[in-house]
């Protein structure tokens, strides 16, 4: 059975924050401006982004609220009543509560009665896991409609107080600790929503899901992006192994970390996965009309572009489209926020029959996911 994305929605909290205002919102650690911010922002080229915290680092919207607001927008635009929604799948790197799963909290916020729920946990690719599971449920004809949400509230991990509290961490010990600061200037907040149905929307464009594939390389490669350890190779403790959570925080075990040295692996594995799909005959670069690639930084766009070209499976740059530069890198919510705008933007023309390839890599422990849609109308 074919399954279609018939409606989308998004929620971006607060005003668009420009490059220069970012440190006002996240806060200068110990009152001192970061020496890495400008360099990292220059490389990622993100011009504006949104935060669900204010300039006093107080939370303005919970992660649950953001997911629900994106869902409401998506349902408001849908040609189907919300009572038809049989499944709610929610993805986030970190919900408001460690337990229960975020889908429970969002279901309550949306007041959707007696539905099947799924919470996926991961980083950028967790939304793809949620989408794939919901798609499969639909293919089994268990539901007429399913709602898939992805939401991120990264700024709570990135605010100055987190770094100031990490008094015995690698961040405190080094003059510059790239691994803990890199993502501070990359990630921001937002939520996206997709509605899946067993038929296209009666008006406008829908996306038929053709295939979703993923290849994870955690069996071979070390952890690259994580929260929960102090970032010292000889120290195997994770945050709950400390006597108190306060000690874990002091030791930097609650800081978001990225081992930037390992990042090249992500692009290599990304290209490897695409070559695999080409080899299997699943995808042909010449058949792609639009390429929506989630990348965290403009710098990586060029690298991916170059590597695909060199492998002989390049997709011409005019077929690439993203809103990273204006909406920010919202982790697992990025692709949904991108799809929402892709179907509405005047920047490009999207026609019935167009084939859309999406690529969402996750650096956490190297999971690469690929999606293919065809634009349809009823």
């Amino acid at each position: 059975m074919s399954v279609y994305i018939t409606s989308t929605g998004r929620f971006l909290p607060g005003p668009a924050i420009s490059v220069d205002q970012v440190e006002n919102v996240l806060g200068a650690v110990h009152g001192k401006p970061s020496s890495l911010r400008v360099q990292i922002q220059k490389a990622n080229k993100i011009q504006t982004r949104h935060y669900a915290i204010d300039e006093r680092q107080q939370t303005t919207h919970s992660n649950t609220e953001m997911a629900a607001k994106a869902a409401e927008e998506c349902l408001d635009r849908a040609f189907v009543g919300r009572e038809k929604v049989g499944m709610l799948a929610v993805a986030s790197t970190q919900g408001d509560l460690p337990a229960p799963g975020m889908a429970s909290m969002v279901q309550a916020e949306l007041d959707l009665p007696e539905i099947e729920i799924l919470t996926t946990h991961g980083i950028c690719s967790s939304s793809i896991m949620a989408l794939k599971a919901a798609w499969n449920s639909m293919r089994l004809e268990e539901h007429e409609a399913a709602l898939v949400l992805s939401s991120e509230l990264a700024s709570r991990l990135l605010k100055k107080q987190r770094y100031e509290a990490a008094t015995t961490s690698t961040f405190a010990a080094k003059r510059i600790d790239f691994s803990t600061e890199f993502l501070r200037w990359m990630l921001s907040d937002g939520a996206g929503a997709l509605l899946l149905q067993n038929k296209p929307a009666p008006k406008g464009l829908s996306l038929r899901i053709d295939w979703i594939r993923g290849f994870s390389h955690a069996h071979a490669l070390p952890t690259c992006m994580s929260v929960g350890s102090a970032g010292r190779p000889e120290d195997t403790r994770t945050w709950q192994d400390y006597d108190t959570y306060a000690e874990a925080e002091q030791d930097g075990a609650l800081l978001l970390r990225q081992d930037v040295r390992l990042l090249d692996n992500l692009m290599r594995m990304g290209v490897d996965g695409y070559l695999r799909l080409v080899e299997e005959g699943v995808s042909q670069p010449n058949d792609v009309d639009h390429f929506l690639c989630h990348y965290s930084s403009h710098h990586f766009r060029n690298k991916i572009l170059e590597m695909l070209n060199k492998a002989g499976v390049g997709i011409p740059e005019e077929k690439w489209w993203t809103n990273l530069y204006t909406r920010g890198n919202t982790g697992c919510a990025s692709l949904f926020i991108m799809l929402d705008e892709f179907l509405r933007t005047d920047e490009i023309t999207v026609n019935e029959g167009d084939r859309v390839l999406c690529f969402v890599p996750e650096s956490g422990r190297f999971n690469t996911t690929y999606l293919h849609f065809t634009v349809v109308s009823q």
């Binding site: 071979a220 070390p222 040295r261 692996n265 290599r268 290209v271 070559l275 080899e279 170059e306 590597m307």
Partner: protein, 249 residues
């Protein structure tokens, strides 16, 4: 030190970052072969992270002693390398004169590289006699045995697959490992000169590689042979690297 610049400015390592030189347009079979070779390389490169000694480079716990183990174990392969390369050259018949010339000049470039490696070993704190007395490890035996066998076959074009893996690793040593090892161990440039030099030289070798691939990879059978040999060499090379760990005991 600013470790982030590595990611932001980007390094280049391995054959995937090495473009096909301008002026060389690969034929259709060579292009397919190259894509398959890329996948073999990417799998090989990823799985290097599973080799205990090399994982320590990733994790930042590699020591000067590890470096000595590495050099001590890699020397035999470097010595034997020029042997299978020259054997390969002699196995090509008169219809493959151009390839034979390319391979001979390649062998001339590399056949005394092991002397550089011995100097690195001493600079890393090792005793010259120890590295000179070192035998091939189990993996090196298997790798060398396979390469000598293949290179003795008539017109062994499949050894392009072997070059792809070995040259690719040379490039990776130079761009990803040599500086990082110095940083982690406190050893100087004189301890990683083999890695650094080898990589620089290998980028010229890659240009010759693409030209040769285009001339010999002209049908399905050639693709299969080249890719299979690349897979065998990747597996045996990893075995050689895994076996290094046993030298520690």
């Amino acid at each position: 030190m600013n470790d982030g610049e590595i990611a932001i400015e980007g390094g280049s390592n391995g054959p995937i970052e090495e473009s096909v030189p301008e002026g060389i347009v690969l034929n259709e079979h060579a292009q397919v072969c190259l894509q398959q070779l890329l996948r073999v390389w990417l799998g090989f490169e990823r799985d290097l992270s599973k080799v205990p000694l090399l994982r320590r480079i990733d994790l930042g716990t590699y020591t000067a002693e590890d470096h000595q183990v590495f050099l001590r174990n890699i020397r035999q392969q470097v010595i034997e390398g020029s042997r299978w390369i020259t054997r390969t050259a002699s196995s090509f018949d008169r219809n493959h004169g151009e390839i034979r010339s390319t391979i001979i000049s390649h062998a001339v470039d590399e056949h005394r590289d092991y002397e550089m490696l011995e100097k690195d070993y001493v600079a890393s704190g090792g005793v010259l006699e120890d590295i000179l007395a070192m035998e091939k490890n189990i993996g090196s035996e298997a790798l060398h045995g396979f390469l000598m066998h293949q290179s003795s076959q008539p017109n062994p074009i499949d050894l392009l697959g072997a070059m792809w893996i070995i040259e690719g690793l040379g490039e990776k040593m130079a761009t990803s490992w040599s500086d990082r090892i110095q940083e982690l161990t406190g050893l100087g440039e004189d301890s990683t000169s083999f890695m650094a030099y080898h990589g620089h030289n290998d980028s010229e070798h890659m240009e010759r590689f693409y030209a040769t691939l285009d001339s010999v990879c002209v049908n399905e059978t050639a693709i299969k042979r080249i890719v299979k040999t690349a897979k065998v060499v990747a597996r045996l090379y990893r075995l050689q690297l895994e076996e290094m760990e046993h030298d520690l005991n």
